[in-house]
């Protein structure tokens, strides 16, 4: 079954990712810093423009900053409006089963309808 325990496969995946990310970072540094003429003399001619070595990190940082605002906006948009039935009930509450009341036992957990809750809170018991 699923468990977060360390396994040999997970160790191998982790080490492969570690080596891969170091290799990728070294490649990025070589591409960004070594002048083009030196790379051409080595025979490596088909590389993207060096403009992107600065542009991509800039884009990434702006995307992270925009992501904060976007997440806040998505949260506000997914909040149920005041006139939707999602504020009262949902699919799990509609299909819940009613267990019979047993003496001397803790009552089973269930979603109490809002009318009952209102009567209990706001109408004084005589």
């Amino acid at each position: 079954e699923n468990s977060p325990a360390p396994l040999p496969e997970r160790a191998i995946y982790g080490f492969a990712l570690f080596l891969g990310s170091w290799f990728g970072f070294m490649l990025y540094l070589i591409w960004a810093y070594i002048p083009e003429t030196w790379l051409f003399s080595l025979g490596l001619t088909y590389w993207p423009q060096k403009y992107w070595a600065v542009a991509l990190p800039a884009y990434l940082l702006v995307a992270v900053g925009t992501g904060y605002i976007l997440l806040f906006g998505i949260n506000m948009m997914s909040t149920a409006p005041l006139n939707s039935t999602d504020t009262i009930t949902d699919n799990y509450a509609k299909k819940q089963q009613w267990k019979k009341f047993q003496e001397e036992a803790i009552p089973a957990l269930r979603d109490i309808p809002i009318s009952e809750v209102n009567r209990m809170f706001f109408l004084p018991e005589k």
């Binding site: 005041l82 039935t85 504020t87």
Partner: protein, 187 residues
């Protein structure tokens, strides 16, 4: 007939007026504060000062006339479509519930819900603009499922009374709604 003062969710003073027309008919009206002269003059001065600043920058006198025109039209639209003066609830035990909103320009819009469609009138809590507010709403019956709720109609959306006012309205409505359970069905 009695009138009591309460506060809205944002702190503005509102007034609740209760009238009992008969044993099974009640009218509850919530009156919002009127448009204040100081806020009206403040927003008009701000708009006209901004227009004058634009005029100084662009040397175009059309900006000033456009600002006056926009302010007038904006005020009329606000009074007719946005600013609500009074929201009232008329509960007639055997007939239904009527919800009326009267705007500051005198316009009134009403909605009537038949009593068979009304399942209950409850105070619900929901998240609204980074706050959790209490609001009164009418639960409409689902024709296929006697326990289900097909629609939720929120009431007093503009005045947004606080919980103490809502409890008074809730108790008044429940007294009338309980009668339809004890009274025998005539249809």
């Amino acid at each position: 007939m009695e009138e009591r003062r309460y506060r809205s969710a944002s702190g503005a003073p509102i007034a609740l007026r209760r009238r009992q027309h008969s044993a099974s008919c009640r009218e509850l009206a919530v009156r919002c504060p009127r448009l204040q002269l100081h806020s009206l003059s403040a927003s008009t001065s701000a708009a006209w000062l901004a227009a004058y600043g634009l005029f100084v920058l662009t040397e175009n006198s059309m900006v000033l006339s456009a600002a006056i025109f926009i302010t007038l039209i904006g005020l009329i639209i606000y009074l007719h479509f946005v600013k609500i003066d009074q929201e009232s609830l008329l509960v007639i035990g055997s007939l239904g519930i009527q919800v009326t909103s009267s705007y500051a320009s005198g316009k009134e819009s009403t909605t009537f819900i038949e009593m068979n469609q009304v399942k209950d009138v409850v105070i619900n809590e929901a998240i609204h603009m980074q706050k959790v507010i209490y609001y009164l709403c009418i639960l409409l019956q689902d024709p296929g499922d006697p326990q289900g709720v097909s629609e939720v109609v929120p009431l007093f959306q503009s005045s947004k009374p606080r919980l103490d006012c809502l409890i008074e309205v809730y108790k008044s409505c429940q007294e009338i709604l309980e009668q339809r359970k004890t009274a025998p069905q005539s249809s």
